[in-house]
């Protein structure tokens, strides 16, 4: 559940990832789920040229929106205010929660029905509401499952992807009164739905995230499959949407290509079951809809990424999760090992701005830089280049540090190693000597070679280097 995480970043990440790779059941689950999601996405993009064209458009729209972010946010607020939506600005997670609590107190709310929102996870919304005496409960099936289990989401799109149907069957039988153990997936969904639907009627506030915000129309766009998002935003008296400042788009027409890229990249759907466009509260004469609509716009470190020319691209993300679905590391360790709200490659590059690089730098190194994420990213975020930049920052000297927590990963031992490496490979005489010594002493090369021989046989230098063979060859 929500708790303060105390980081000993390197040791903590190592311990969590080690536990994950040593759990064969979990590895099999993740492998199966990732294969399934990769196949679903592949089917959606049969034409490589169409995909590349769409990615170019998606990337251009996001870069354009970010280039004009300050003015678009002002336009959004003006438009929304005119429409009757109340806009709030939160610099931190605490500020965002305080705004929600203030609204809840003013309308005497006791319960909040939540649609799926990763930003609400980011700000530990449920925890903050509980501390304020307000009950917030999940209505998204995946979120409901992890909430029942007392866990956190392991994936940004499919929060309970780490759970097998057997685990969910046991969980429902244990936690939901009157439910018998069943592994029938349709039956399990029915049980979950029944438990969830009962709660909507009583909720005072509905909380949602937002997939896109449209500046020209003052609209909140919400993409979902279960219908709980629509219920959360229409049944309770008050609707609060919470999202990051980067989600704004200039025009309504910009939504369509991004929506298409999002659903096809995320779940391999050509379109979702529900797509909600929310532009105003209930108007006189309308039969449903909330009396009040609020939008909380959260910074929480995003402006640090925004201020940096290279790192700004991090904010192009539309949260499809394709990067984690295709990541060889995520597939082996799962989402929980990252220890952040957002796991996987996108988590590694966005979390440093939210939590500080000092708490998150190991994640920048937890990548083979294979580029599978870059290849599938629908908005073409140069994730591997950003990972390399964060590695530079993690080990930066104080005078070149530019991010919160820069330099936290600097170690004297590693710096000394790389100084030695530089000496060998930048001084020809030194390289000639050391490589000659290695080849002459090839028979003496150690059997134990640290992390390399942790799982491989030792590397042996050749008795003669290529340069020696070429010397021998010349007449």
């Amino acid at each position: 559940m929500s708790q303060v995480i105390h980081f000993h970043p390197d040791a903590d990440f190592k311990a969590r990832s080690l536990a994950a790779v040593q759990d064969p059941g979990q590895r099999k689950n993740f492998r199966g789920a990732m294969d399934f999601l990769q196949d679903k996405r592949r089917v959606q993009f049969p034409d490589q040229l169409e995909l590349e064209g769409l990615r170019d458009i998606g990337s251009a729209i996001r870069r354009n929106s970010l280039a004009r972010l300050p003015e678009l946010l002002v336009q959004l607020e003006t438009r929304m205010t005119a429409n009757g939506i109340q806009v709030h600005w939160a610099a931190t997670a605490d500020e965002a929660n305080a705004i929600a609590i203030e609204i809840a107190r003013r309308v005497n709310a006791r319960t909040i029905a939540k649609g799926k929102s990763m930003v609400s996870e980011e700000i530990e919304f449920n925890h903050a509401m509980k501390a304020a005496g307000i009950e917030a409960f999940e209505t998204d099936m995946g979120e409901y499952i992890v909430e029942l289990a007392g866990e956190k989401p392991s994936h940004i799109i499919m929060p309970a992807i780490h759970k097998t149907k057997q685990a969910i069957a046991a969980l429902f039988a244990e936690k939901i009164p009157g439910v018998a153990y069943t592994e029938d997936v349709d039956e399990l969904i029915k049980i979950g739905r029944q438990a969830l639907r009962r709660k909507f009627a009583d909720a005072d506030i509905g909380l949602s995230g937002a997939n896109f915000l449209v500046a020209e129309t003052g609209t909140i766009c919400l993409v979902e499959n279960e219908g709980n998002g629509r219920l959360c935003t229409t049944v309770p008296r008050v609707h609060i949407a919470v999202t990051g400042i980067e989600k704004v788009l200039e025009k309504l027409e910009h939504v369509l290509p991004l929506y298409s890229l999002l659903t096809r990249s995320a779940t391999g759907q050509s379109i979702t079951t529900y797509f909600n466009l929310i532009s105003r509260p209930r108007q006189p004469g309308e039969k449903d809809g909330p009396e009040e609509v609020h939008l909380i716009l959260l910074d929480n470190g995003r402006s640090q990424a925004y201020a940096d020319e290279q790192l700004r691209a991090t904010l192009q993300c539309i949260r499809c999760g394709a990067c984690m679905n295709h990541c060889p590391v995520y597939a082996r360790i799962g989402g929980h090992a990252y220890g952040t709200t957002y796991p996987g490659p996108i988590g590694a590059i966005v979390s440093p701005h939210m939590m500080g690089l000092d708490a998150t730098y190991p994640l920048a190194f937890a990548s083979t830089l294979c580029g599978a994420c870059v290849e599938v990213c629908p908005v073409k975020i140069p994730i591997t280049d950003i990972l390399v930049r964060l590695r530079n920052e993690a080990q930066a000297r104080p005078e070149t540090a530019s991010l919160r927590g820069s330099g936290a990963g600097r170690s004297k031992l590693a710096s000394a190693f790389w100084a030695g490496w530089t000496l060998v490979y930048s001084r020809l005489k030194v390289y000639r000597l050391t490589s000659w010594l290695l080849s002459r002493g090839h028979a003496l090369s150690p059997i134990e070679q640290g992390a390399w021989t942790y799982s491989r046989t030792a590397l042996k230098p050749a008795p003669k280097r290529l340069r020696d063979l070429l010397k021998d060859r010349k007449p």
């Binding site: 060889p328 190194f365 937890a366 530089t422 050749a462 290529l466």
Partner: protein, 267 residues
Amino acid sequence: MGLDKTQGRVYPPKPRDVYLYATCLVDQFAPEAGMDTILLLEREGIRVHYPESQTCCGQPAYSSGYPDEARAVASRQLTIFPEPWPVVVPSGSCAAMMRHHYPQLFAADPLLLARSQALAERIFELTEFLVHVVNFKQPDYGSDCTIALHTSCHARREMGSHETSVALLDSLAQVTVVQQARIEECCGFGGTFAMRYPEISEAIVSDKVAAIQATSAERVVSADCGCLFNITGRAARLDEIAQLDTPSLAGEHIASFLLRRTSKATL
């Protein structure tokens, strides 16, 4: 990334002379791959020049987050190719470093940036060079064999060399290339990643070894020594654990494999 990186690249006619940038791994650990690259090119009537002052492309420091150290080493490689000849690299990873990442590394220094851009234009990964510049076509003298091809991630996604490796292997009449499961997935090496997170690296490479061994391939061929050492080193360790006397998975650099198959004498 995404589409073949070689698309749109204009290739020169077959030159009389080329430079070989053999890479530090080949020089120290796999000189036969470098030698076989030279023999392959010479057989095509190309003179191969090996600048003795070459060391390492700088990628280890670059990808580990030590850009100053990477620049100190990479800048030395910018000056060792004085003639305007193509530079052939028998490693997709190092070729991608010199072709795509040198200009990023030297972005802040106009002189070195210009030099790195000029060099980047002349960098060719070996299989790319053989297909697009040499128009490599040699008879296959070997008997029937089935192999697996592993293309490094940088070769695949930044140099487009999976297609060129496949084209070369497909041109060998008696060679069948299998399609192992998740062929496009990383082998788990990732340079210092394998050093920093050996357990995760082991999980990834073990799956790669299993995927190749689940096919009927007699060996794995690759244009990158880093991946080859990782995959065959893991397979050999698993052999030790299983107390096998003969290696269950052999590896061979694509230059050596191509030369062996297309030479009468060495078979």
